[in-house]
Symmetry: C2
Subunit: 327 residues, 2 copies
């Protein structure tokens, strides 16, 4: 950016100076330093856990890696900041309302799997309801950041950390104060527990759990919860089949998300919603049609955003689909 700016003509540099543009570029440099405090701490913790001696800053990174680090920073906002509360309310509540209807006593034995759990807020919320919860996440960009957040050493209390997650894209900004604003996190302090476990693996390789006491020998999860997940599949048929196979007979699949298939012809199939629903039924699920308009299990469209900047002049609004299905 400094290089691009340096090539404008002199009279325009004077104009740029009068509106404070060089100061903005300087502030951007400070942002990078500020965000590096968090990213370096994550990398250092990861190096310790993996027993690496190498200095994290000496590792080669490419542009795609950088994009993923920025994505992870935005997930801190979405999952673990006050500012993300509104976004979470829209996408977590439809799921949590279904789980809240199960009697507390039944939750003790019930097992919930959350594939593509990212930084783990939804899985943590589910564990707080009393469910035995397993989060599955394959990407190190997410799991390392999550470990950093769940570690008593790295994250001793609320708002231990500060990031400026929106500073990396100057488009669609109303003001520089908004562009460079700091977001403290976490708003609550999460920890792993006997109720919450992280599995760092490919969801398609996840094992079926052994039968629990009250399941009369039935193996499988009671609930699989997929949030913004199924459309990340290279082969969504495999994903739906795997969800089916992981559930116990009578088990429940709760889904909320859009249909943004992996690009560049990576996806084996790219289905319309109509085709997804046909495949879901063909594989053996029964979609719960719900009853009254306030039935928490009825299929519906949820207008929501994803790891967005609420102050920005551009909003990606998903008309995501929510459904509850039974094996």
């Amino acid at each position: 950016m400094e290089h691009s700016y340096s090539s404008i003509r002199r009279s325009q540099k004077q104009l740029g100076f009068r509106i404070g543009y060089p100061a903005k570029l300087k502030r951007f440099g400070q942002t990078i330093t500020q965000n590096a405090i968090t990213t370096t701490a994550i990398a250092t913790l990861a190096a310790q856990e993996f027993g690496l001696e190498e200095n994290p800053s000496s590792i080669d990174v490419n542009h795609a890696d950088l994009a993923r680090v920025r994505e992870a920073l935005k997930h801190f906002v979405r999952d673990w900041s006050e500012e993300g509360a509104g976004e979470r309310e829209k996408i977590f509540q439809p799921i949590l309302r279904v789980l809240e209807q199960i009697p507390l006593s039944a939750r003790e034995e019930a097992r919930v799997l959350v594939p593509g759990s990212g930084l783990g807020r939804l899985a943590w919320e589910i564990s707080q309801l009393g469910y035995n919860t397993r989060a599955v996440e394959y990407s190190y960009f997410m799991t390392l950041a999550m470990r950093f957040l769940f570690s008593p050493t790295s994250t001793p209390n609320t708002n231990s950390h500060n990031i400026q997650p929106f500073a990396h894209w100057f488009s669609h900004q109303r003001s520089n104060d908004s562009l460079f604003r700091s977001i403290p996190f976490p708003d609550v302090v999460p920890r792993f527990s006997s109720k919450l476990e992280l599995i760092e693996d490919d969801f398609l390789k996840t094992a079926t759990p052994y039968p629990s006491k009250d399941q009369a020998g039935q193996s499988g999860y009671d609930f699989v919860v997929t949030l913004f997940f199924i459309d990340t599949s290279i082969n969504v048929f495999s994903t739906i089949e795997k969800i089916y196979s992981l559930l116990r007979p009578g088990g429940t699949w709760i889904n909320l998300g859009p249909l943004l298939w992996p690009g560049g012809a990576q996806a084996k199939v790219e289905l319309s919603l109509e085709e997804v629903m046909l495949a879901v039924k063909d594989i053996g699920f029964v979609i719960d049609q719900g009853g009254s308009a306030d039935d928490s299990r009825r299929p519906r469209t949820i207008e929501c955003e994803y790891a967005h900047d609420q102050n920005a002049m551009m909003h990606w609004v998903y008309h995501a689909k929510f459904w509850v299905a039974t094996k």
Copy 2:
């Protein structure tokens, strides 16, 4: 897509067959043929006008070219179809309301410049109000498609053409019927006239017009209208300075659009809205603050979309900024 699909395992191919996926891929092939009727006609007209003998289908194209052709197809919807009426209403009306307030007699002599005019609907609407209108467009992907539309030979009447502009992206679709739907165009038949001229050039090279009769020797346009334009600038300082220099003293700039700066560090400056407004004032404009809440000239935010698929499960919503400024 067929290649990706062919690699799934046999039982999944049977599932795919049951939900009609191979038929969808076949329908996609037919879409390409259908859309080629329009694109080939555009290329043939262009070859005639440029006196080329070459068969347009023999020209090498790359992926970026393809993306621009698809963009042009979507612009037919946005600018010239019934389906685009809602989107046009939101972004054209704020501009047209300001121009409608000028007495009819004064419009006869008034001159309006529309940079980045695309397929020309806004410029045409302005010319229909009685203004001498010049549309400026640099991209051949737009100007060739516009000439095709404005030609009595290529486009004899309303709904002469049909395209399936949304078929090229399978994500965010509710149904295949929606994905493959045909959009007829144009909803009205536009023609060039003494009131509407197209300048195929870089806006930054546009000449200032000679003085008109009632301007007492003042040269320059009475209005410059920029819609989704200023943020396409490599150097927005140059763009705003050029708008200023093209207007006659007392002339009016009407702007509506977001701030999505060219990526990949192409843009020399990437301003926040706050900085844009500082630059606009520094260059010499006075922003009209308007009076009452229904004053058509008051600065405001317009929620709008851009060449979007109204049926899709994803919407890019711009909180675009509208203002009227005087030189």
